[in-house]
């Protein structure tokens, strides 16, 4: 077993060597511009892009013409939200989303609000899921767009995408889903689920960084978006800019592998994830799971270790790469807004750790990570005045703390 161990696969994943192998020729041998229509270099590049487009489309049951390549999911989210808002402005100005969305969605919504759109951020339940009745009630005749993520990046919770899609189509509202964490991990079918726009990132599924895609429905109904990048009219006018052929080849290859291996891989991932959870919870008390375990990515585990601050825990397991919802680890010095939206108290949000199991993790690594977490939590609880108080029978949440 090699140290350090990488178990932060929601942040990014390593490129699968099989993906890299397919990408390499497109740097030095087949380096043409896919938009060059008059020579073989261009044709070969275009051929590779077409193949990748089909591979991406197949994974989500779309058609190749519905795939727009972008620089990544952040761009896809921006294109979807701003593109729809612009295009459907005459029809209405109301957008619905969730507080647990990635910043790429949340910040786009804030921008659109400044531009005169009305955004309803619906609350989520304690388990992280949207209440479909709330959603139904929130839709008005001015609603043009619902944007709800497929899988959450912190807690892995899967939203009821098929039900949301059905509702959106009944009401004639465009439905976008940021599926960055879900694509290639759980089955997604844009037809069966009535998805109109879907954001994809390559580097979350063992592809390269710097490339992604946006699925844009072409039929029933045909979705139109205003581009946010103007230029040579690439990608059917929706996203100008020379195509990053090696990266696109990588995205396509990553999609194909995920599609082929998903049935076995998701079972294996869940086995590893459950093993990690059981081992930790069998030996530590007061460990709380954040978000629904039932509706969840098989790769994700998000735990709060009461009385142990997250950053200090990360420091103790310094040969393991995971992440924390503690304020100290965030740029804003605020604890996780996702956990806050679930109603997790800030005291417990500070103690949360996100484990993201990935394709290259082994059972041996899972056991090692669990044991390192257990011994570090034990050690830090001995150091924790809160744990001491809890053991004395004091309810820490009821103490009135003098604020700083």
């Amino acid at each position: 077993m090699k140290l350090p161990i990488y178990m932060d696969n929601h942040a990014t994943t390593p490129v699968d060597p099989r993906v890299l192998k397919q990408m390499l020729p497109f740097f030095t041998e087949v380096y043409g511009n896919a938009a060059s229509r008059n020579h073989e270099f261009g044709w070969k590049a275009e051929e590779a892009v077409d193949k990748a487009r089909r591979q991406v489309a197949d994974l989500i049951n779309a058609t190749p013409k519905e795939i727009v390549f972008t620089s990544g999911a952040t761009e896809s989210d921006n294109l979807a939200l701003k593109g729809v808002a612009q295009m459907y402005r005459q029809k209405g100005n109301h957008i619905i989303s969730l507080p647990t969305e990635h910043k790429a969605i949340g910040d786009c919504c804030k921008r659109l609000e400044k531009d005169g759109f009305q955004v309803s951020i619906l609350p989520v339940r304690k388990d992280g899921l949207v209440d479909l009745d709330d959603l139904r009630r929130a839709i008005t005749d001015k609603t043009i767009l619902i944007s709800i993520m497929a899988a959450n990046n912190e807690i892995g919770v899967l939203q009821p995408i098929a039900e949301i899609g059905k509702l959106a189509h009944e009401k004639g509202v465009v439905f976008h889903t940021d599926a960055t964490q879900a694509v290639g991990k759980v089955p997604l079918d844009v037809q069966a689920m009535n998805i109109d726009l879907l954001s994809i990132s390559a580097h979350k599924m063992y592809g390269p960084k710097g490339v992604g895609a946006l699925y844009v429905r072409r039929k029933k109904p045909r979705i139109q978006i205003t581009p946010i990048i103007d230029g040579g009219g690439h990608e059917r006018g929706m996203r100008s800019g020379t195509l990053a052929v090696p990266n696109i080849v990588g995205l396509g290859a990553a999609c194909e592998i995920c599609q082929k291996e998903m049935p076995q891989e998701s079972v294996r991932m869940q086995g590893l994830r459950d093993r990690l959870q059981k081992r930790i919870q069998s030996r530590l008390d007061e460990v709380y799971i954040n978000g629904s375990m039932e509706h969840r990515l098989p790769q994700n585990l998000n735990l709060s270790f009461a009385y142990v601050e997250g950053e200090s825990l990360l420091m103790g397991i310094n040969d393991v790469a995971v992440s924390s919802g503690s304020a100290c680890t965030s740029a804003t010095l605020e604890p996780s807004y996702v956990l806050k939206a679930l109603g997790v108290g800030e005291d417990l949000a500070h103690t949360s750790i996100r484990f993201g199991v990935g394709r290259f993790n082994t059972e041996e690594e899972i056991d090692y990570v669990a044991d390192r977490v257990i011994e570090t939590v034990d050690r830090l609880r001995e150091l924790s005045p809160l744990y001491e108080m809890a053991k004395e029978g004091i309810d820490v949440s009821k103490v009135s703390w003098a604020s700083e």
Binding site: M315, E346, L383, E388, W401, E404
Partner: protein, 131 residues
């Protein structure tokens, strides 16, 4: 974020971890911070009532590595000092000693507050006894 060697050293080998009996008249207890803020420090001093010298110090901290290191260092520094000397310890001295980055300065502030709270607690106890 990269931690300084001294922070790592205190984190790995924290000094004077533990608790002193809170009800003991010679013990001053300072508890500062809040769980919602991600930091709680408890610092306790055992003071010789004759000489006002701090003879023992213990801490427990819920917080990041820098918070743990700041409070560990604080216990080291206060031992052997009189309560008035301990009261004079400035957070900036802790920042310098541990090479804390700007985002971690609040950890040192908390440690200074914890010392002051513990000293005040001991003084209150001493005064109420004198009455």
């Amino acid at each position: 974020m990269a931690y300084s060697d001294k922070v790592i050293e205190h984190y790995n080998n924290p000094r004077n971890v533990g608790s002193l009996p809170k009800e003991d008249p010679d013990v001053g207890t300072g508890m500062v911070g809040a769980p919602e803020c991600g930091d709680v420090m408890k610092l306790q001093l055992r003071v010789n009532p004759e000489t006002s010298v701090i003879e023992d110090a213990k801490f427990k901290t819920f917080g990041c590595g820098s918070a743990i290191a700041s409070s560990s260092l604080a216990t080291e520094w206060v031992k052997g000092k009189t309560i008035d000397e301990a009261y004079e310890i400035k957070n900036t001295e802790i920042v310098t000693e541990l090479s804390l980055p700007p985002v971690k300065i609040h950890c040192s502030v908390l440690a200074e507050d914890a010392i002051k709270a513990a000293v005040s607690d001991w003084k209150n106890k001493a005064e109420s006894r004198a009455k």
